[in-house]
Symmetry: C2
Subunit: 341 residues, 2 copies
């Protein structure tokens, strides 16, 4: 447990980045008071058994700005995000809750559009929103709308999906181009005045994941690369597994428009959020099967092998750059793009 | 489904009151898009089975102002509230999630105090907080801290706890004095300048409820009387059951200080929020057993029989007043006290 969160007297935007300060906050301020094995596993979902059935349970609050963006809105994003957090743990999402915090004056028409898209997203993913809550705060006490979704799923996959299962020789596969969601949100922010055709990748990955686990019984670890992007997921995996991971920059799929936007703004696509992209670790022997299944799925067409676990005991991530160099990459410390989800 | 929510183009504070406008909003804007049997039951928790085990699942967001108040804070309140929503459905609370939305600049010391009290409340109630999420928004985009807790419990009680089980001749029992939470929050708001010794009743009722269900196998319906107070719960039950309910004002326990504050502010204690009070419907023949168990429990010392279901097919609530008259009472329409929970 790192003590850097202790240095701050106040919450910073960076404490919500999903990067190092978020981890520090959880380690220093949350875990000591809430300790239990489930929570300390720090997975995307908690995993436990009730009545002999293995279940997974997850929660996320959504504060994305703008509320409507190319490719989705806060409501569809909330459903996709919770479906994905359950799915990467090997769970089949079944039930979901929806808690709304609304600012007085929020347009009823917008609320209805958001709820409608939550309904569509839930139906597509085969999950039911079974319970909810609505709170309203006075004008100025919240920024328009915040949504929390919690989800419950059943785990039927028999393998152990965790950083502890990662082994030397595992390859890393990403299910498609990275940074699309973050870049779409950025370009949708009026104050930036950036016109682009960028569309968020936000999507429910349960179908893709179910298929992958069907063709490969030895997937070791999966994570959807949201806040903190691909970089944060790979660094977390390296730290959790105690592994040396080497990535090939030239193999990482990035759309030209995303790369362009990142260059203009001085951002690294590695750390830009995705909302429909999967990172997966599996033995090299199964990579071909996984990749070919993914590439045949509408949400995995651009899937690629992007790296390898080259040693255990290292806790380092090395990026072999497109221009022939190599550098170590680290968890993002702070907040590249606040309110990305 | 009432159409009054359709009349509004914008969200009003009253849409979050737990009263009639909240019901209208749910009926007009949420249910049409999210339809499923679980959600339409509109219980405090959704009830479903997984792998042959009957489970309950609930969510609530907390926006209480002030964040710290006599008797608790937003964190302990969130744990108690979720424990209670599961318990009134006959559930034994097992697991909980916690989602934080923090305003940039929120004092780290306050966050830690809140998380610490969540940990204590969870341990006391025998529930584990197993998964969480933290988002941070810029200063001015949220009022300090909002918390969502979702909870999962297992239902072992074999009776059917629902408004549909309410029968003519059932008595209504309340577990103690009403309005304590709302009155404590009001008097804690600095702008009112009211000094009082009022303390919120916020508490986890799972122990009390487990005991009651043990002594009475025929409890028909229970609800914790939160937003909208005792009045809202009784009106909802009357509407849901199609029952005529008669209440005796003189039997409803109200603390002198709460009554005094309500008189000063022109409020009716019937509609003031509680966070540790149970309303229960059971056959008259079991009332004695239930009451004597409650009165022997630290959270039920002031329990009282407060009324009766006098006919089915009525959907009316009649209050026989202390001064000898009687009047019909109705769901509160709007928001008596915003951000009470």
């Amino acid at each position: 447990m790192s003590g850097t969160a202790m240095r701050y007297d106040e919450i910073l935007l960076a404490h919500g980045s999903g990067g190092r300060l978020t981890s520090d906050l959880i380690g220093a301020k949350f875990l000591p008071h809430l300790r239990n094995d489930c929570l300390e596993a720090l997975g995307d979902s908690a995993v436990f058994s009730i009545g002999g059935t293995k279940l997974c349970f997850t929660t996320d609050s959504y504060v994305v700005n703008p509320v409507f963006f190319p490719g989705g809105n806060i409501g569809s994003l909330a459903v996709h995000g919770t479906v994905n957090d359950l799915s990467v743990c090997g769970g089949r999402p079944l039930f979901m809750s929806a808690g709304f915090i609304l600012e007085e004056g929020f347009p009823m028409r917008d609320l209805e559009a958001i709820v409608e898209s939550m309904g569509s997203a839930a139906r597509e993913a085969g999950v039911q929103i079974v319970t909810g809550d609505t709170k309203v705060v006075a004008k100025g006490s919240a920024d328009r709308i915040f949504i929390n979704t919690s989800g419950l799923g059943v785990i039927e996959y028999e393998g152990e999906l965790s950083v502890g299962s990662i082994r030397e020789g595992d390859v890393l596969i990403v299910s498609g181009t990275i940074g699309d969601h973050g870049a779409a949100i950025l370009s949708a922010r009026e104050e930036l005045g950036l016109a682009s055709g960028l569309v968020s990748d936000c999507a429910s990955l349960n179908g893709l994941i179910h298929g992958v686990l069907g063709v490969s019984p030895h997937v070791h670890f999966m994570r959807d690369a949201t806040r903190g992007g691909l970089g944060a997921v790979v660094c977390e995996a390296a730290a959790g597994a105690g592994a040396r991971i080497e990535l090939k920059e030239a193999s990482i799929p990035v759309k030209e428009e995303v790369r362009g936007l990142c260059e203009i703004l001085g951002l690294d696509p590695l750390y830009i959020a995705n909302e429909g992209k999967l990172v997966l670790f599996c033995p090299a022997a199964e990579a071909g099967r996984v990749l070919s299944f993914m590439q045949g799925h509408p949400l995995g067409r651009d899937a690629a092998v992007i790296g390898e676990v080259t040693a255990m005991g290292g806790k380092r991530v090395i990026l072999h750059t497109s221009v022939g160099g190599s550098r170590e990459i680290d968890m993002p410390v702070g907040e590249l793009i606040p309110r990305i989800c």
